[in-house]
Amino acid sequence: MRLIQKIGEWFDLRLQLGESIRETAAHPVPRDTASWFYVFGSAALTCFMLQIVTGILLALIYVPSAGEAWNSLQTLNHGVSLGWFIRALHGWGSNFMVAIVLIHMVQVFLFGAYKFPRELTWIVGVFLLLVTLGMAFTGQVLRFDQDAYWGLGIGASIASRVPVIGPWAVNLMLGGPIIAGATLSRFFALHVFVIPGLLIGFVGVHLLMVLKLGINEWPMPGRIVRRATYMQEYHELTHKQGIPFVPQAVWKDIFFSGFILLAIAVCAVHFGPFGPSGQPDPTIIQTAPRPDFFFLWLYALLSFLPPSAETPILLIGPVIGIIVLLALPFVAGEGEKSWRRRPIAVLTILLVAVGLGTLTHLAEHTPWSPVMDAWSSQPIPPEFLHGRTALERHGALVFQAKQCHNCHSLDGKGGQRGPELDGVALSLTEDQLIRQVIQGGGNMPAYGKNLSPAETTALVAFLETLHPANQKPARNASQMALGANEASPR
């Protein structure tokens, strides 16, 4: 024991760090901040350190070459002992890191911690969020599979829409004319050198400010932040009633970080690593690329934006979002901190959470995409064919053969791109059905050139049968007048 102490003293005499470390560790914090709400920042840092360690371990095997990356991932998964576990830790660590950074941000926002004098801490935090998302996206590219390949295509298509410099931006992003070796190499450089460098720098500044300015006190309703008096008030909270950070507050951080590491490890063992999916071979087109979880909301949004508004929203939206986040501490640098007195702040968080949650949920089901194999793999349920005429059954055949089923569902089976057709005869008359099939419209392609008159007649005859047995199909007023006596469903 004495030997260890002697060695410690030997080093401290030369390093001269012991005193400042002890001071930093024992710096007083407001009593209320020893709370389970104050553990997310340190947990995010723990995740980041796990990512550094597992990232270096992966780099021992991974080959950042377009021709070999996918094979090296397979080797990691199957050829290197516990390679799959390191990949799983890195993948789940990434998801946990993004999630915890977001939770940390919400907590900081709701607790008013971005207000004076911590404006710059918040701004650096916004950059930390951006570089964390940058790490998540570039990491997804390094998992060089079909999703990564086509995901890069989506990125390039978005970049190309920037006015004037768009095409050059694409070449710069891809490192050439197509998604290829140069693309993977530059994303490797970004993921392994550039962005982590920024991340370490920002984390350093962020932490330094947290230490110098002190952790945000627990927001009490009615305790108003004013530039003139805040420093004095905070000094009283820390130095008169405060507690030393180590050990009185830090034990919760330590416990939570340990819990998060355990959760990542459990997920890694239980769910395993992410992919890789199919080989990044652009001639294999039987694929439906999807982004990773934290970009799913964007994937959904891109399906719902009207074509004309898409480019401006894609290019201007993120800029506005970032400006709003950066401007927040300047607009609301003073005033009430407690979320109990800030209904708009709470509402904003709820709105954003519900919005992103809904979009993510939708992206997991992709109702806007045609079900590419519905026409050949999902037969029309028998009840829609029972007791039908030959013409109507022929129409059902046309319905399958012309891939109507890819976009329209019957009895819940098939695509959801267009409306379900279970009761279509109730809302459209025969003439309207013919017009819709031939001319399309309302986001449906026109089938006039692809259907013979006989096929159209049969198809519409089938569609006319799609109504509940106890409800009559829609009829034209003229038909009603002419055939009032014989009006009965076919």
Partner: protein, 181 residues
């Protein structure tokens, strides 16, 4: 030597040193920027596109649309499979052809051809195109990208080499051509 003189001399030397570093910095920055911009400058100088053969015409029967693949003209040894690019070839009437890029005009996902309904459909965000490449429905703002083509010695040649994206001037011109036709 007075102290005053000494200080001003050292201050001057420091400034001179900073100036020297600034000049060397600019000297280094120019090649670094040029190195970084090489994918852009290369494109402007020689262009990425060239004429490539998709194979004999007999592979593309009249009235049908078939998948074809080619090797990108600009490739590196380590590009692997990413150098192989697919495209859709439509033989309109035995004389006229249309060669569509595999990339959806919305965000670049691979479109699939459905010969039964004569439609191209995209698996990503639900874009659909008619057999002539014009937009049918969904989020795309325009029709499919088309490569220029020519026929030589019974072979179909296309001018390709760059991933088509909505912002490209070439792509925009092609879109105008499609709408005119």
């Amino acid at each position: 030597m007075s102290t005053e003189n000494g200080i001003s001399r050292r201050a001057a030397l420091m400034k001179l040193g900073l100036l020297l570093n600034g000049i060397v910095g600019i000297f280094l920055a120019v090649p670094i920027v040029r190195y970084l911009l090489s994918p852009v400058t290369r494109e402007k100088k020689t262009g990425y596109e060239s004429w490539l053969s998709l194979g004999g015409l007999e592979q593309f029967p009249a009235g049908q649309t078939r998948l074809a693949t080619y090797k990108n003209p600009v490739v590196n040894a380590w590009d692997g499979e990413t150098g192989d690019i697919a495209c859709w070839v439509r033989n309109v009437d035995g004389q006229k052809f249309q060669v569509f890029a595999i990339n959806c005009a919305h965000l670049g996902c691979p479109v699939r051809w459905f010969a039964q309904s004569n439609l191209f459909m995209c698996p990503c965000h639900g874009g659909a195109y008619y057999q002539d490449g014009s937009r049918a429905s969904g989020p795309p703002e325009r029709g499919l990208f088309q490569y220029g083509y020519k026929i030589e010695d019974g072979k179909l040649l296309i001018k390709a080499g760059e991933m088509p994206t909505p912002g490209q001037p070439v792509a925009k011109k092609a879109a105008e051509r499609t709408t005119c036709a």
